[in-house]
Amino acid sequence: MAIFYLLPRFNYYKPKSLNEALKLLNDLENSKVLAGGTDLVLDMKIGRYKPENVIDISHLNELKYIKDDGKSIRIGAGTTLQTILESNIVRKKIPVLAEALEIMGSWQLRNVATIGGNLCNASPAADTAPPLMVLEAQLKLESIEGARYVPITKFFHGPRITELKRNELLTEIIIPYPPSNAGMKFLKLGRRAAHTLSIVAVATLITIKDDKFDIVRIALNSVAPTPLRAYKTEESLKDKPINLNVIEENVKRVAEEIKPISDVRASAEYRKEMSIVLTRDAILESLKMLNVKIGGEEF
């Protein structure tokens, strides 16, 4: 029988607890952590990674939870995308994350892929990153030495490179409650409507004060080596009056903040243009959630 892909040999470890997993991660050289496996197993098949040791954390229930602690939503890093998508807390409090999950992968993939895995894989196209960036999520990184917290905006260092030290594991994503009057939106452009990687995706979070933009947060993926916040564009919109001209004029700045490449999914030029369009549309949709009319126009 023909075998198209062979997985390399590795030592397989199945720790009984998070503590045991952290010890293994500390003690084993050249290891990879297996969460959902939708990236790692594929990457081992195509030879991107050849770990000597695989530490399976997919069965660790202590990493699977969604908790509302009254000021933030805490998601265990091992929680599957489908579980998060179906969570009422997430849909109500942070719908922008649910919107991203809704169009990630397929049902089969969401049933195993985890939020921690999506972040730690650190693909420039990670779709959970833009929503978590506009929500200003904090990440809990644990090792046998203890825990530290880093904002998600400091987590990505490059394609598949993160802030994680060799012996650290991402264990929890902490999402502070967004301002109660915030409008938010996730928009993704892919080659298909479903089961597709993004050409560019944008998340926005907006609040308004005295008919002007107050908080403006914009995050994008697939247009730079890492998902990123468009701080300059955000800044330029803050305190500006809310009308279509202002929005269209200011979102053009996004193109200066990103560094897209041309690849099999799209050209750099197309990504730049679409980043502007999607940012504009995501801002308009966020305002729609706040029932803001723009110059009486229906959009």
Partner: protein, 157 residues
Amino acid sequence: MIVSFKLNGELVEVDVPPNMTLLDVLRRKLGILSVKRGCERGECGACTVLINGDPVCSCLVLAPQAEGKEIITLEYLSKNGEIHPIQEAFIEAGAIQCGFCTPGFILTAYALLKRNPNPTIDEIKKALEGNLCRCTGYIKIIEAIQLAAKKLQRYSR
């Protein structure tokens, strides 16, 4: 290493290397040939199995991850030589051409109808986004699942 799990209701034990995928365990060790080897990268859904009731691509699951799980393949659906109403519906609606993708589609449909006995067309499309078919154009598959929903409701009454 020894891995044991429930396969279509029966406890099985296999001696497999940890770098074997569940797809290979099912096909090569256990002779479950309804589970198809398609893209082997989680894109086509031909290798779909249900793990604890959820559709999953078995090509991306490592053998030891199956430990203690309940796994269902197409073989589970027909009982005593009688095919399942979803299988009947696929035949009656003409939702099968080459048939390679069919086991995956039927298992995903089975999982969908368990959760949502009367899905809308959009809900069916959403559930099926991880199953690819190169023959039918999907319309007849969607019709088959609508027909299956009616059949199952009739049987449960």
